[in-house]
Amino acid sequence: MQVRSEVTYRYDGSFEGLLCCVFESYDKKEIPADILLDAAPAGLLFRDRTIVTESDKAQRVLASIPQKMGRDALFFIRQAFLTCLPQKEVQLLRFMRLGYQHGPAVLQMLTDETVSRLMKAVRHLERESHLLKGFIRFSITDNVLTAQIEAKNIVLPLLAEHFCQRFPEERFLIHDRSHGMALIYQPYRPMIIAVDEWEMPQADETELAYRKLWRLFYDSIEIKARHNPRCRMTQMPKRYWKYMTEFAAENSAPQREIGERKKMNAQRLLPPSQA
């Protein structure tokens, strides 16, 4: 029987790194109190142990997941790794332990605290990426489509497939300011890379005209007798508005005031297949 241990793991923030933490947990027959990023400030209560990312250990764990708990579970784990759930690493470790114990049925253990919390986080991720598929606004300069977002979860890997299918012949860039990463596409070559600072290019006359046309459409489509700002807010939370053309001041790009934001290393956060 493994006991909750007095140790905190430190890892490099990569998916492979997390798999190595799982390896370590089984190897030492312990469940760490928490799994933190290398860069996180040191805690007072627990001993720290740095888990070095080793490719062969990660591969062994990775190969065992679909074998023991099925491909759906592996897909779920990859999704959950992209969420903004606090302490997602240690929750994922517990989830995998349940998976090794119960097999594919782990995905049906919806009343288990860990499973239910992770499922909720994944739904939040999926919902956010679904909303952004609609709410992202591109500007066009020199035939390149550019957009910015501030997402809570790491949504770019989920958005990639959608926009690559939609604009197969275009060149586009979506910059996620909150995670310091960008999805860059030129015909048939998508990439997600780390981009900390990046400014939207200056809009030309055509771009400004279409922004204006869109605002005109947006304002005309409302039926005044049914005015219902609360319903709008429920469907389209205000945090998305600042990047949306329809809410921008006349002829200007959408307002962007930005507070504190986390900077992360994009490549390290992504699963190997997408980095």
Binding site: L145, L213, Y218, Q235
Partner: protein, 435 residues
């Protein structure tokens, strides 16, 4: 007139059309093309009235030869008339689409000159989009009643969804307010579209690359509250449209007075939004919950209960069906419990394979316990329905605001049997036509 003025006028004229969904078809651009569609549909914005914006919803022209009394574009209305050229509209669509403002185009039109000419103009717009721009995004086209079948056919080959608005739920109402339309002129093309969809589906089984005819199906809409048609009549019509005409969606639109007319409710009439809301709830019950129209309303109860939703109303009037045991009941029975929806019913089925469900677990599965608690058996605990009177249950189902309204109507003094016989709230009462 420049494109700004045209867009303003033709958006204004189209906004009363309800349908703006982009669902029902999954596809992606081929090489050299642009655009895709997601089966779930994608909303790109929400207007200040809270309604979803997914498509560029405009009229090709608001010059109409018909004189339907309820319509802003009726020929007798003095308003500025204009029309897009097919190329203008196609270019606008593409530019909005590339900026990700929209999921595609919703194209309707007033009847310009005659139905055939109007239909040809729409076809030309769609042809430019599909053939010149190789656009694979979503297109919803309004069929023009009275147009030649061959034109409707061509339009359907270019669109993802087609719709013909029923507008008024009965022949009598049509005669009264839309003398140029008849039940037959609406149902004939609807039947034709249904038949073509079925033929095209059969062809696809035979030949994989058979061209698709309106792959996202057919929809319609009706105006609620302009005429004395009851909820019961409207819901029955809705049900038969799903069954006989295989429609994908039926939309409802609370009547907004746009014309002073002796035949219509007066101009200060508030749109019956709560009635529209109840109809949508009931429509959902028909499509996803296995309810039949005559279970929700009947000859004696022709109107929806304004205080509780149709599912709660049904549950309160069918206490013999409850309690439902969440650990044993079939999916269909779970769906009948207020507070359990399609998602939570599915999760219950999955989760109970692994563990016996307790009441606390249900919350994690997304069940709304406030409503469900009265109607379920869970882990040996009996439902409170057995112990509580119907009035107590009802009181706990209503929000504070609704409860106050209900009390003001003397609702709680009345007997439990009166539940579905409420008077309509005075503030929201609609002025019905004579006779």
């Amino acid at each position: 007139m420049d494109v700004f003025d045209k867009l303003k006028i033709l958006t204004d004229a189209a906004k009363y059309d309800v349908a703006c969904t982009s669902s029902g078809v999954d596809k992606r651009a081929g090489a050299g093309g642009i655009g895709s569609a997601a089966a779930s549909g994608i909303c790109h914005s929400f207007s200040a009235d809270g309604r979803c914006i997914s498509l560029l919803k405009v009229l090709l022209s608001n010059a109409c030869i018909y004189d339907c009394q309820y319509c802003v574009n009726r020929s007798s209305n003095e308003t500025q008339r204009t029309a897009f050229t097919p190329r203008e509209l196609a270019e606008l669509t593409m530019n909005f689409y590339r900026r990700n403002y929209i999921e595609g185009l919703f194209l309707s039109s007033g009847v310009l000159k005659n139905p055939d000419y109007t239909c040809e103009q729409m076809i030309e717009t769609l042809r430019i989009l599909r053939e010149e721009y190789r656009f694979h995004g979503y297109i919803h086209a309004k069929a023009i009643p009275g147009a030649d079948h061959r034109l409707t056919e061509r339009l359907g080959m270019l669109a993802d969804r087609m719709s013909i608005n029923i507008e008024l739920p009965s022949q009598r109402s049509l005669q009264l307010l839309a003398p140029d339309k008849s039940k037959q002129s609406i149902l004939a093309p609807m039947g034709y579209i249904k038949q073509r969809i079925q033929e095209a589906t059969r062809d696809i089984v035979k030949y994989r690359h058979a061209p698709k005819f309106v792959p996202a199906g057919q929809s319609t809409q009706m105006i609620i509250g302009a005429t004395p048609d009851t909820d019961f009549q409207i819901l029955n019509l809705t049900e038969s449209l799903y069954q006989k005409y295989k429609l994908k969606r039926v939309f409802f639109s609370a009547y907004l007075p746009v014309a002073e007319n002796a035949l219509l409710p007066s101009l200060d009439t508030q749109p019956p939004l709560w009635r529209e809301h109840r109809l949508y709830q009931a429509d959902w019950l028909l499509r996803f919950y296995g309810f039949a129209a005559n279970e929700l309303l009947d000859g004696e109860h022709q109107s929806f209960n304004p205080f509780v939703d149709p599912k709660c109303n049904w549950a309160l009037n069918h206490r013999e069906f409850f309690p439902v045991d969440v650990n044993r009941a079939e999916y269909e029975a779970l769906l009948r419990v207020p507070g359990i929806g399609v998602m939570s019913a599915k999760r219950i089925i999955a989760a109970r394979r692994m563990a016996t469900l307790q009441e606390a677990d249900l919350k994690k599965l997304g069940v709304v316990l406030k409503r469900a608690q009265h109607f379920i058996l869970c882990g040996g605990r009996s439902a409170s329905l057995i112990k509580c009177s119907q009035q107590t249950v009802l009181r706990s189902l209503l929000s504070q605001k609704t409860l106050a309204l209900y009390r003001a109507q003397g609702g709680l003094a009345a007997g439990a049997e009166q539940l579905s016989l409420f008077e309509l709230p005075a503030a929201q009462a609609i002025t019905l036509l004579e006779g």
